[in-house]
Point group: C2
Amino acid sequence: MQTISITPSENKKQKPADDSLVFGRQFTDHMFIMDYEEGRGWYDPRVVPYQPLEMDPAAMIFHYGQTVFEGLKAYRTKQDTIQLFRPAENIKRLNRSNARMCIPTLDESMALEAIQTLVDIDRDWVPHKEGTSLYIRPFVIATEPYLGVSASKTYTFMIILSPVGAYYEAGINPVKIAVENEYIRAVKGGTGEAKTAGNYAGSMIAQENVAKKGYAQVLWLDGHERKYIEEVGSMNVFFKIGDKVVTPHLSGSILPGVTRKSVIQLLKDWGITVEERPILLSEILDAHKNGQLEEAFGSGTAAVISPMGELFYNDQSYVINHHTTGALSKRVYDTLTGIQYGTVDDPHNWIVDVPKK
Amino acid sequence: MQTISITPSENKKQKPADDSLVFGRQFTDHMFIMDYEEGRGWYDPRVVPYQPLEMDPAAMIFHYGQTVFEGLKAYRTKQDTIQLFRPAENIKRLNRSNARMCIPTLDESMALEAIQTLVDIDRDWVPHKEGTSLYIRPFVIATEPYLGVSASKTYTFMIILSPVGAYYEAGINPVKIAVENEYIRAVKGGTGEAKTAGNYAGSMIAQENVAKKGYAQVLWLDGHERKYIEEVGSMNVFFKIGDKVVTPHLSGSILPGVTRKSVIQLLKDWGITVEERPILLSEILDAHKNGQLEEAFGSGTAAVISPMGELFYNDQSYVINHHTTGALSKRVYDTLTGIQYGTVDDPHNWIVDVPKK
Ligand SMILES: Cc1ncc(COP(=O)(O)O)c(C=O)c1O
Ligand SMILES: Cc1ncc(COP(=O)(O)O)c(C=O)c1O
């Protein structure tokens, strides 16, 4: 494996107070970079001071959006160790996204070492307050200065870090969601399975529209028939109907969330039936009508679990569980965050340490 | 209107010979830049030496792909004037793309003046040889350093220029096209109508796959039923069936090409029936079987007209017009390129001059 060279920053920034953290606006003292050239492969892995990139205006990322990214977090435990939650899952997904986007894959152990090395150097940036964490953003961009529409011959793989506050300041909190009727996030055969920029650029307009009406997120329907439930905002989605839990199967158009996979495992551990399958919106509305829709929640790295307090569709509001957080949603949230912060047992070995060098 | 400031380059590059031009790899001495900030609007339009951009690694373009672009050309006439083909159409499309992607729109006359000013300064870069031209690439990128998924509050609008060789070295030339069965370019409700990076990033894998099998481009089918014809590669597509010409209507998932619009106008001028409507792939294959499919061609700024000599679908090859360029394809090509280079009458005032300052 290639050795990661390290150039420490000489101008350390002032760290924001744990109480003033906002998502994704402040970055730590260092970043990781590695380059790729056709014929040479990935080379020169290095940790350097956080700094601007020099980019040719013709770099392909600006024109054809050939890029992938990931999102995971580092958590500080009560013992002041720093730990990651299932980082290998994010790295595997990064490589699956790479394959879809014609980007050369990364060596998975190198990528993990890159994350660990960078987080270790900036470990003082992992905030202390309950619910806070250090957001880790690995990404790859196409850098060849060329306007032809074909895969770039050069790339840069980077990792940047941003300290983030607690998602729920005052305890886990249900949100209002609107079903999206006009816009489509993804369709099988497209790029919905990959964590790539275009999926997010295309979704902004829908998000802006519902935000104006007071909804936190959109619920995406499938692009073929606009009947099946896909995701909610940038989260996967679960519904508790009677005694069982249902979630859309990995159809080719939704992102295979690491949180989703972990929620399914926990539910199975607890002996709860989970069905991964196509879910008609009408099935959920019917279950609501029959009083069977007990809970609904989104799952993702940012919020971990985000309960749905209300679903808006065709001029009608469907209130779920009296706008309160259901017992199962709460149990999943407490267990997952407990594992992440090291206060709850980790039977599946999901935690990976960031060793101090 | 804001005045465009000009900083001339002091290190002029050596210009490539007209015979050695390749598409999109060489750039001229200058570029245009203009910035946007929420609350302030677009400001500081300027022509500066072509140079790298300094970008924060957290700039939203790298993560969420919020960006749009355009492509048009400047042509040198026999009288050594420089002219543009329907630039207002490209600028209007840029603004429609902006609206879809939650990017603030541009003042259209400012954008045209920016193109004219930049091309004028680099007018010696417009090559002389027949069929050559200067490719013009306007684009907007989201620059705010922020990892939240929402529209950026800052943007940069740029224009870069690249001299390009003749598309057809030895006369207009039919290509082999394969129908794409696995991947989808776009779907109604998605971003297919907008000229935005993600559409191109998502299409690369299909293009790579068919190139390996000896096909020049893919023919995209609709994302809903995979039965209707959408586009071919980065071109719109026309079929001559008997006496009439059919082309897919602007369904919401295909790009409204400037060349497409111009072809339709020319055909109407000539008294030829043009139908813009949904076109089943099976209709085209049936027409082929019945000997009614006389010609097929793609239309776009790069090639102007690209005849289809062969269509490959489900393990079968459908040869069109004996792999030769049909009379109508040729007539459209000759007329459009004639107007572009100023050798043919321009009854619709499609040509806009680049005045010498
Ligand atoms: C579109 C989308 N769906 C779902 C998720 C949830 O994935 P994960 O649980 O891996 O964070 C994300 C990422 O956060 C996402 O961007
Ligand atoms: C996807 C796509 N379709 C069609 C076209 C043709 O458009 P135009 O004729 O404006 O060049 C383009 C651009 O060149 C394109 O990128």
